[in-house]
């Protein structure tokens, strides 16, 4: 049963992160983690440019409350323009989500380098806060 009360809403965030954005000593992790007031599913990407709108929209259709992409800084992309492409796609995705009444804040991209697992959790937490006012994903449990 979906949790429809905004007060005790614990957003479920899917965080897709570029492997290169991690600090060298950090071992990539995948799977579910609990945050403070939210939960997160970590998904490892070889490059942030691997995110495509069909996948992102399916994740939201399947009930994820929000999606966060972690990309490398603009000049640090191993594929030169990969993270810029991802950023443009995310901007379009946000517009489309606004049009369908889901709210743009269900999707976001931030950049970072030398990230730790705590940094990824913090990014996910920021996404959770940004979408908290939107409430749970109406597709949950559909």
């Amino acid at each position: 049963m979906a949790n429809n009360s905004t007060a005790d809403f614990q957003p479920q965030i899917t965080l897709l992160y570029c492997r290169q954005s991690l600090a060298a000593e950090v071992k990539p992790v995948q799977g579910n983690r609990a945050g403070n007031g939210f939960s997160v599913r970590l998904v490892l990407l070889p490059c942030s440019s691997k995110v495509q709108l069909p996948h992102l929209m399916r994740l939201l259709e399947q009930g994820s409350d929000g999606l966060q992409i972690a990309a490398c800084p603009e000049k640090a992309c191993q594929h030169l323009v990969g993270s810029n492409r991802a950023e443009k796609r995310i901007a379009r995705g946000r517009e489309l989500l606004e049009q369908v009444g889901m709210g743009a804040e269900r999707l976001g991209l931030d950049r970072g380098a030398g990230l730790s697992l705590d940094d990824l959790m913090e990014m996910a937490g920021q996404r959770a806060e940004a979408l908290r006012a939107l409430g749970p994903n109406p597709m949950k449990g559909v």
């Binding site: 495509q52 069909p54 259709e61 489309l96 109406p138």
Partner: protein, 223 residues
């Protein structure tokens, strides 16, 4: 290629109210090249429509498929089962493909997910510009290979109109080069500017879309 653009999702929502099982179909040919109706767009639009209808208070079940071509009857059979199960179809192929689907699956309402807009080229990634308007009496032979029907805002046959901007762009749209400026430049470069002053036979517009529905018959190809 034939280009198309997504209709506003709000318009699609209006069409789909009252429907429960919707099939979204694309075409892997022209509309895939112009990023409106290929598999990627279909698989983006299908979940978006599910979300839009849920938020509209009219939840639907959405299935999706991308056909190799929507404008050839043989390829339409691939969705026979899905079309029979659906109570509405949204097509993001061009108007030609859409109509063939509407004819083949005549019992199921078909709604356009795109507006079909032009015959264009992909000039750069993310930019498509008109090249032809299917006017039925091609004048490229007189205009140095540059189309004044599709690429002049007034479809002038003897240009330029006098409104060309000082930077060479069209007076109607500052992002579009004045095609008559380009025609004159190409004629000049070939040392053939005089050719543009020659009197030409009047253009036959009766073979254009304005001349009514086209029916092209080739007896030698008929069975």
């Amino acid at each position: 290629m034939i280009t198309a653009e997504w209709k506003p999702i709000e318009e699609m929502v209006g069409y789909l109210r009252g429907h429960k099982k919707v099939l979204v179909i694309g075409c892997a040919t022209c509309v895939a090249e112009c990023a409106a109706g290929g598999e990627r767009e279909v698989e983006t639009l299908a979940p978006l429509l599910a979300m839009a209808m849920q938020n509209d208070g009219n939840p639907i079940e959405v299935k999706s498929a991308t056909l190799e071509r929507q404008c050839e009857p043989e390829f339409l059979e691939a969705i026979a089962e899905a079309a029979a199960e659906a109570d509405a179809i949204v097509s993001v192929a061009c108007g030609i493909g859409m109509q063939l689907v509407a004819e083949r699956y005549a019992d199921t309402p078909l709604y356009p997910g795109v507006n079909t807009t032009s015959l264009s080229i992909r000039e750069e990634p993310g930019l498509w510009t008109s090249r032809c308007a299917a006017c039925g009496d091609c004048v490229l032979g007189f205009t140095f290979g540059l189309c004044p029907v599709a690429r002049c805002a007034k479809s002038l046959q003897n240009g330029p109109c006098g409104g060309t901007r000082t930077n060479g762009m069209c007076e109607i749209n500052q992002d579009t080069p004045c095609i008559w400026r380009l025609i004159v430049e190409r004629a000049t470069a070939r040392g053939r500017l005089e050719d543009l002053t020659k009197v030409r036979p009047p253009k036959d517009w009766s073979n254009s879309p304005a001349g009514g529905p086209k029916r092209m018959l080739r007896e030698d190809l008929r069975s």
